[in-house]
Point group: C2
Chain length 579, copies 2
């Protein structure tokens, strides 16, 4: 009798397991089961389907050669012996090695025996326990059906105002989708003090928030939904502690959690949050049962701790590992470093590894360095600024993470990917300083922004640069009494400094960078100097010089005015570009 | 007395050493010397200056904040104590620890004592020993002065036809510069059988050649310059064994070699090709003399052998290491993996590590896998095809290199950089298969093209796929008698296959991919089947299936028709897109 492989779940990991197992094990009998009728779709594409960038939901279910990935496709093209959609697995009987199934439409039940079982049961969105969550017009992004329903509602002209609850990646992508092509007035509310919590640190998050506002999305952070109100069963308002937001569409994007019930009920080891525990070969605590995708727990390769990484890319790579092991090929999935990237209107934001905040929470003595520079040769016409922050442990010099914001395109991804590739190998700041990266003027700079971030961080962890935090600087700009002794020494061209000198005559002075040495006697010694330029580089150099003439209490503003401007401070002089 | 540091050469590595040494060693006396008057310029930007993308040569000499990097700048802004341009170092007296200098204009000589000497003397272009190389209008790209002279000549309308001798990166960049914005009729001749020899393998090189031809650049490979002819001292023609090419401008771009004479004459250890030998701290055989940039030899971290890597990016990173060591900070430059990227009209081409050809020459049992797929989600509107080839040693499964062609943008660089970051750590095919890369539909695919290349290569080195070489397939298409038993089984949609069936009725048949299993009885068993689709993926899957029904001598065409079409074969049916 052929080996019987039963795969439960047919969105990402499941089909990957089934198809590769088919190629490796021509004699096996493979069954693929899903409770939905829509299977094998690119869930990450949902915001682009809602926005209209992707016209038809079928495009999310097609191969690159435009064939629909339906049950027929998996049978005829992929050779899966038995593909059962609209079929729910209700229980796993490990003793008898069989699964109990039920037809979702007819209620008919049955039993399928297995030799090897694969659980790819995915995740479900968190539903916040707020009043009104069941009103018509309140959605989670839990399936393609929900996405279709949202888009239909918008296309029918039923949505003028939307509230997105949750400022994570999916929330922001959905907000952009609603605003950009449909002109829906959209507001994001995020319970944490910043969007993209835990993914990037405060400064970059505030840069993203400012960019969202510039594109018409309202953003309120540190503000949760208290209740959702409706009329006649339809949603009308979202109430927070600070305001009431009108809404005829509410999207809850408050993260997802694993669908591990089937596994737990079968007695398989699960994590406290309900994710299935697997070893590096993706085997559960029952060696005949494998699991992959959003339903499993994995390892974080930077912290060394257990982690949850519900991503289509992770699911696919895990699926291949499962198939290999089913076929006796020793293959392992070692864990994740936590890499993400996303488009936000005209910019992109991404990260890999740990943010400074998370690194500190994990017990590291985390330091950070921020490079702000052209993403390609500054003389190349298409250049744009990139903001790249590297995080390292001060004592061991081990790099823990890299995060950045750049112009929309693949330039930021290049740096994030290079860092992600190396992070599992425990690289140091020095490894990144001398890292070899592709260079030609249309693509990058001779010293790449990633090398530069490492070099700056090297200066930070080696104690060669003294900095002031951006948040502290901004607070002082709003309230100078916090540090009456501070004085900004602006090292930019007088033309750039002039509007600031006019606006802040008591606390802003200008000596251009290349005149500081000749004009050293003009540098005040009775105030604490905040050294400011556009990117921070000139400030660092001048700080090093000032030490040699006995002025050793200056502070450099990392990322400098290029960053400050992108946070949209009220004091920024109008019409001043700043870079 | 302060420590005296003398730096010879002020283009890339030299200024980097001088400026960082200044910051680290406030008390040292630093001298920066160059024989030219133009210093600290982005030499890699020369093609973009010639093309007109960069308007003024000064842009190549400016900081990102638009200050000219001249002698004054290095004195006043950077605090270099003594900056001497138009000054040649004629000899190094190691015994007395001094350098002999000469004013290039006046001939005046002098002597400068040093405690530490840094040689950053760069490289010079190879001049081919052909008759006519001294004619007016024959240029190498040896300095910014040459670039200015070439651009002036073009701007004055004196150049209608140009010949570029050498199809390496700089030759191709110059050809594009001449053609694209100036409309100069340009021809590249390359002595080797392909452009970008040793950098990429034949198939990708031919893709680049075809793209150049499509953009009006003539390309002749396997063809060297026999002599250059002129009239009245001015260049008129370049003669090859096969043709005579008219030219009023000839650019020789036949690589560069190190300027190591000063070091060799001082008795420092140099390589056979004349590059200065340094240790990982960039010290020469005299511990008081450091060297960095185009004049030094380095280590290739894939082959473990000595290598020469004359690149501005390498020079800058080495310069920082020199400065660190001058200041007593232990810092090392371990070597290179050989990474490059370049723009060629609408596409880009790049590589890191070894090509298959070079790997075999180095004694590896090299195998290759070629992924051809969307560079981002195939449903995302801006997606384009990427061609990515990975090379590994068959026995150890160690990845030796990655090379690719993609649409112009930073997407290819992302994959090359990720590979370059990991290559020094001796990764395996499996490391690349499960490598974590940033994923969102606007940027990449759930299984990235880099993962896919590794997965394909895994199938190759594990013997799970049997392939025919693209070159062999193309030869057979031109001359079917080479393999009369071959028959193409085209797995694409009938609409795509139809023009091929019409043109090649005797050796082309079509069963769409998803119909092969149901129509298995129609698959011929009396011919050797060449399995063909657009990317190679469907062919591989069908090969795996055919084995199970006893048809086990089929061959997959890697990269398939997406690659073949981009090589511009004469037999390609007109009006057939192919992907």
């Amino acid at each position: 009798m052929p080996q019987r492989i039963v795969v439960v779940g047919a969105v990402a990991a499941g089909p990957k397991v089934a198809c590769r197992a088919r190629r490796l094990l021509p004699d096996a009998h493979i069954t693929l089961i899903d409770q939905d009728d829509l299977i094998s779709y690119g869930g990450c594409g949902i915001p682009y389907y809602v926005s209209g960038d992707v016209t038809d939901e079928k495009e999310l279910r097609e191969t690159s050669f435009h064939v629909l990935r339906d049950a027929r496709f998996f049978r005829d093209a992929k050779g899966i012996d038995d593909v059962r959609i609209l079929t729910r697995v209700t229980a796993v009987d490990r003793k008898e090695k069989q699964v109990h199934i039920q037809d979702v439409q007819t209620g008919e039940t049955g039993v399928l025996p297995y030799d090897k079982l694969v659980l790819a049961t995915g995740s479900r969105p968190n539903v916040l326990p707020v009043e009104g969550r069941d009103l018509d017009g309140v959605f989670t992004i839990s399936s393609l059906h929900k996405a279709i329903a949202i888009k239909e509602r918008i296309a029918r002209g039923q949505v003028e105002k939307a509230v997105v609850i949750g400022g994570g990646a999916i929330g922001i992508e959905m907000a952009e989708a609603l605003t950009d092509l449909w002109g829906v007035e959209t507001t994001i509310i995020e319970f944490m003090p910043q969007v993209l919590p835990r993914l990037v640190d405060r400064t970059l998050a505030r840069m993203v928030e400012h960019h969202l506002r510039e594109h018409g999305v309202q953003v309120f952070t540190g503000e949760g939904a208290q209740r959702i109100e409706g009329d006649g069963g339809r949603v009308r308002r979202v109430v927070t502690p600070n305001r009431t937001l009108e809404a005829d569409l509410v999207i809850m994007s408050a993260g997802v959690r694993p669908r591990g019930e089937l596994a737990r009920e079968a007695g398989l080891l699960c994590s406290p949050m309900g994710a299935i525990v697997v070893n590096r070969r993706m085997q559960t605590s029952d060696p005949d049962i494998y699991a992959a995708g959003d339903c499993v727990e994995t390892l974080h390769l930077v912290t060394g701790k257990k982690a949850y990484a519900p991503l289509g890319s992770v699911a696919n790579r895990q699926g291949r590992v499962v198939a290999d092991n089913l076929a006796g090929i020793p293959s392992t999935f070692d864990g994740v470093v936590g890499t993400f990237i996303m488009k936000v209107f005209d910019i992109c934001v991404g990260a890999t590894g740990l943010s400074t905040e998370v690194a500190r929470a994990e017990g590291f003595d985390a330091a950070e360095g921020m490079a702000v520079m052209s993403d390609r040769a500054h003389f190349f016409p298409t250049q744009a600024l990139m903001f790249l922050q590297m995080v390292a442990d001060r004592r061991s010099r081990r790099v823990l993470g890299v995060q950045g914001v750049g112009a929309m395109g693949d330039g930021l991804m290049a740096r994030i990917d290079a860092a992600a590739a190396l992070l599992p190998r425990r690289p140091t700041v020095d490894d990144f300083g001398t890292m070899e990266l592709a260079y030609a003027p249309p693509f990058s700079t001779a010293v790449d922004v990633l090398n530069t971030a490492a070099n700056i961080l090297d200066n930070v962890v080696s104690g060669r640069i003294a900095t002031v935090e951006m948040a502290e600087f901004l607070d002082w700009m709003d309230d100078p009494a916090r540090h009456p002794e501070w004085l900004v020494l602006d090292l930019r061209h007088p033309r750039e400094a002039e509007p600031f000198l006019k606006r802040f005559p008591d606390r802003w002075m200008n000596i251009p960078y290349d005149e500081v040495r000749p004009r050293r006697d003009e540098v005040p010694r009775d105030r604490r100097l905040i050294l400011v330029c556009n990117a921070g580089t000139r400030s660092y150099e001048i700080q090093r010089f000032l030490v040699t003439i006995g002025i050793d209490n200056t502070l450099v503003l990392p990322g400098a005015l290029n960053v400050a401007r992108r946070l949209g401070p009220a004091w920024w002089p109008e019409g001043t570009a700043g870079d």
